[in-house]
């Protein structure tokens, strides 16, 4: 899992049905000192994260398919937690 910071969101109505019901957030990956590290990407939100939140991200297909309980879901990146503090 990786750490990231939510910097925005994406609104999309015309999309594969599997994506319905999930917010799509724009995430900037960060290191443990909360400094940006790497390219931004989009992730499906499962914990109602908002802009500015530090979040925990799953970046692996099988784990995402487990979360979505669908063996053929074309999903790889999902937000699975909101981080309170990094020590």
């Amino acid at each position: 899992m990786i750490l990231g910071k939510v910097i925005g969101n994406v609104v999309s109505t015309m999309k594969l049905s599997i994506y319905e019901g999930y917010k799509i957030l724009i995430v900037q990956p960060i290191n443990n000192r909360e400094e940006p590290q790497g390219k931004t990407f989009l992730a499906l939100d499962t914990v109602q994260a908002g802009v500015g939140d530090i979040v925990l991200i799953i970046d692996e297909g099988n784990s995402s398919r487990l979360i979505m309980n669908n063996k053929t879901a074309p999903v790889r990146t999902m937000i699975v937690g909101i981080v309170d503090s990094i020590n």
Partner: protein, 89 residues
């Protein structure tokens, strides 16, 4: 998942059988400020995206799973058309 803009399409009659009646679009990857990053790539279309549409796409195995018959060699598939990109607020 990454953002991109459809800048063209690719017509291909001689291709792998599992790609039959799958539209191939030329996509320019974009960052969150919709600025170009990297070179254009070819992606399979599942949502009837048109030229100049902002889309989001997925790579790897998930790209193949995005198509109806998921046993296909796609490594980049468009999963949705973006209506709005909001940064900050």
């Amino acid at each position: 998942m990454y953002l991109g803009r459809v800048i063209g399409n690719v017509v291909c009659t001689q291709k792998v059988e599992s790609f039959n009646n799958i539209k191939l679009l030329l996509v320019q990857p974009l960052d969150e400020k919709l600025k170009k990053i990297g070179d254009p790539v070819v992606a399979c279309d599942t949502v009837q995206a048109g030229i100049n549409d902002i889309v989001f796409y997925e790579g790897g195995r998930e790209a193949a799973l995005g198509l109806k018959n998921w046993f296909n060699p796609s490594d980049l598939t468009i999963m949705g058309i973006v209506d709005q990109v909001n940064i900050g607020e």
